[in-house]
């Protein structure tokens, strides 16, 4: 196995006001990964990214890039380049001058600059706009300039700070694919900061979910969605129904527990008797039936439809069970006329397979 390209060791950042933005984080990022830092605003993800770039310095801990400690290396000497959230495309330079800037200031030969800039513009498909000024360009075009400007420097790591947040929905989808394509072509490690789970899930090869300055889980998109480690991750990635429960009995890997609104259920987990757990289940894994399902193996409950929201391809149904337990169910609208097939106030049965339940102990 190759050495990690970025290695973060016990890094903390405390701002002068006393706010702890990043609290003792450690993890590694491998060569050629498309790595996402995902979390709600204020979770410390941008601060972490800026510490990797050198624009902030950690209060304690160590950041290694390509095996070298970066503690004493200012941002202009680091093998990283950044695409800023506001793009920060220099307004007093043309597109070409912007892309050439990083090469010029580090003393690359003029011929080489010319070649690299042409290549960079080609890569982001902006060759025809080389003479333009940034104020005559759209947000998407400016973003491409920012990308080309960073990529021509051939950094070991490209850092992207919320790169899609300022674009409109249509452009965002295009750019998302573009970024994935670019990462595959150039073979540079990408680290992207985002608060948008869809962005992270669709682009990244690995995601670190952050909250309150700490990493909650690092995993691939599928693993994060299907095997969240704790309530925060389960709740933050996608939609989830969380049902509180207490473990009442344990036999090997099988447990019995008393769940709110469900009563006694049997699940697979290694939890201790008496511990409080949460049963997480995704809305699309739930089924709705008009009559009680026959099987005993499945989890089921009867409830009243409180709300139906129609979204075209799916309908979101909220079902009110016992003990104040509300469940959200996503129903595929398979036929044109029927919609979700249920209406407000109707009594229905909700059921799902036990293996679709995620047992969360944290």
């Amino acid at each position: 196995m190759t050495e990690p390209i970025v290695s973060i060791r016990n890094v903390s950042k405390k701002f002068s006001g006393g706010v702890i933005a990043v609290d003792n984080i450690s993890f590694d990022i491998d060569q050629n990964e498309f790595f996402a830092l995902l979390g709600p605003s204020g979770c410390g993800k941008t601060t972490l990214l800026r510490m990797i770039s050198g624009l902030e310095t950690p209060t304690s801990g160590q950041i290694m890039i390509g095996g070298e400690d970066m503690a004493l290396t200012p941002p202009n000497k680091r093998p990283t380049n950044m695409v800023f959230q506001s793009y920060a495309v220099f307004p007093h330079m043309t597109v070409e001058q912007n892309v050439a800037y990083g090469l010029k200031v580090t003393g690359v030969a003029p011929d080489e600059i010319k070649r690299l800039v042409a290549e960079g513009l080609e890569m982001v498909k902006l060759t025809h706009l080389a003479e333009r000024r940034p104020d005559q360009m759209s947000g998407g075009q400016r973003q491409r300039v920012a990308l080309a400007r960073a990529l021509v420097k051939r950094p070991k790591v490209l850092l992207l700070d919320e790169p899609l947040s300022a674009l409109d929905a249509k452009l965002r989808d295009d750019m998302r694919m573009e970024l994935t394509r670019l990462q595959e072509t150039v073979g540079i490690t990408f680290i992207i900061v985002t608060h948008d789970q869809d962005e992270a899930l669709s682009m990244a090869s690995r995601i670190a979910v952050m909250e309150k300055g700490a990493v909650q889980q690092i995993a691939t998109p599928v693993e994060l969605y299907e095997h969240p480690k704790n309530r925060f991750v389960a709740d933050f990635i996608g939609k989830v129904n969380l049902i509180d429960a207490t473990v009442t009995g344990q036999k090997g890997k099988a447990i019995t527990c008393d769940a709110k609104g469900l009563g006694k259920v049997e699940l697979t987990s290694a939890s201790q008797v008496g511990s409080a757990i949460a049963i997480a289940v995704r809305p699309e894994k739930l089924k709705i039936g008009k009559t009680e399902p026959k099987s005993d193996r499945i989890l089921k409950l009867q409830g009243k439809v409180r709300d139906v929201a129609y979204y075209g391809d799916t309908s979101h149904v909220v079902i009110e069970g016992k003990d104040g337990l509300d469940l959200s169910v996503n129903v595929q609208n398979e036929s044109r006329e029927g919609g979700s097939g249920v209406e407000r106030g109707q009594k229905v049965w909700v059921h799902w397979a036990p293996e679709d339940s995620i047992v969360l102990t944290e």
């Binding site: 770039s53 050198g54 920060a88 220099f90 007093h92 800037y101 990083g102």
Partner: protein, 290 residues
């Protein structure tokens, strides 16, 4: 905004006093000055009158301004003002930059400290400088302790330039502060991130992007320096006079009003020229607008 025709009564109520005052006590006086600049002392009974003036349409007053004696003073006024402006820029830029990057709670206080001297009477500030720079002043006392001096620091060009810098520095700080404050920090970060050193970042990004503020500051300082009268009068020597002093002399001791009027108009044209330059620069610049 509504058209003036929609509410004529209100329009005239608002418009009349200011327009009247500006016409009567500013434009008309300037008109007098303008005509006077084309006049010459009347000749009554073969004698040149001291008080009577003929508006004869002569250009002699303007031509006289290009007499080597006066040309030298005009040239001196320009270079003294330019040097004072450059020194203002050199001291004000770090100050404005420092205030912008100071902790937020310090900013208002630092800004107040810069502006406060501006509220203190120009004359008093100039007088305070005299006390500091005279032969028995504090600067010479301090230099005396280390065995230097005493130097003649008053009544020369050095005193005039120092005085102008001292008096007009706040004018430079304010527009600079306004532009640097609005400069998006991520431009500086992007430059550093792309491999530029702090110095390269300053020269290639910070300075070009704050150019509108720099130009505003230069104009705001250069104009009053060029027209200054009090500072060279009190701090300058006999050979460090500027246009302002010559104009004053024409209206007081020399009693040559037409020539004074012509010089005043030349000074005003120079001012308008400077303003036009500012307008031109701000139109072409890509930096942060003020």
């Amino acid at each position: 905004m509504e058209s003036w025709k929609e509410n004529r009564n209100v329009f005239w109520t608002f418009a009349a006093p200011g327009t009247f005052w500006l016409l009567a006590f500013f434009i008309i006086p300037l008109g007098f000055l303008f005509f006077m600049s084309f006049g010459e002392k009347a000749v009554i009974d073969g004698q040149v009158s001291i008080t009577e003036i003929d508006i004869s349409g002569t250009l002699s007053n303007y031509l006289r301004a290009f007499d080597p004696v006066f040309l030298k003073i005009i040239w001196k006024s320009i270079w003294v003002s330019a040097l004072a402006t450059a020194l203002c820029l050199a001291t004000a830029y770090p100050i404005a930059f420092g205030i912008c990057f100071a902790p937020p709670k310090w900013k208002p206080l630092l800004l107040l400290l810069v502006i406060l001297p501006f509220w203190i009477n120009l004359l008093i500030r100039t007088y305070a400088l005299i006390a500091v720079f005279r032969k028995q002043g504090y600067v010479n006392s301090v230099l005396g302790w280390v065995g230097l001096g005493p130097f003649d620091m008053l009544n020369n060009d050095f005193a005039v330039i120092t005085g102008l810098v001292y008096v007009y520095m706040p004018f430079m700080v304010l527009p600079l502060y306004a532009t640097i404050e609005r400069l998006d920090r991520s431009f500086l970060e992007a430059s550093l991130d792309l491999g530029a050193s702090q110095f390269q970042t300053f020269m290639k990004v910070t300075v070009p992007l704050t150019m509108p503020g720099i130009i505003s500051g230069i104009i705001l300082v250069f104009i009053p320096c060029l027209g200054s009268f009090l500072t060279p009068d009190l701090l300058g020597g006999t050979d460090s006079q500027m246009i302002g002093n010559v104009i004053e002399r024409q209206f007081k001791s020399a009693n040559d009003w037409p020539f004074g009027a012509a010089l005043s108009f030349l000074l005003m044209y120079a001012t308008f020229g400077a303003l036009a330059l500012r307008w031109l620069f701000s139109r072409n610049s890509k930096g942060v607008d003020v």
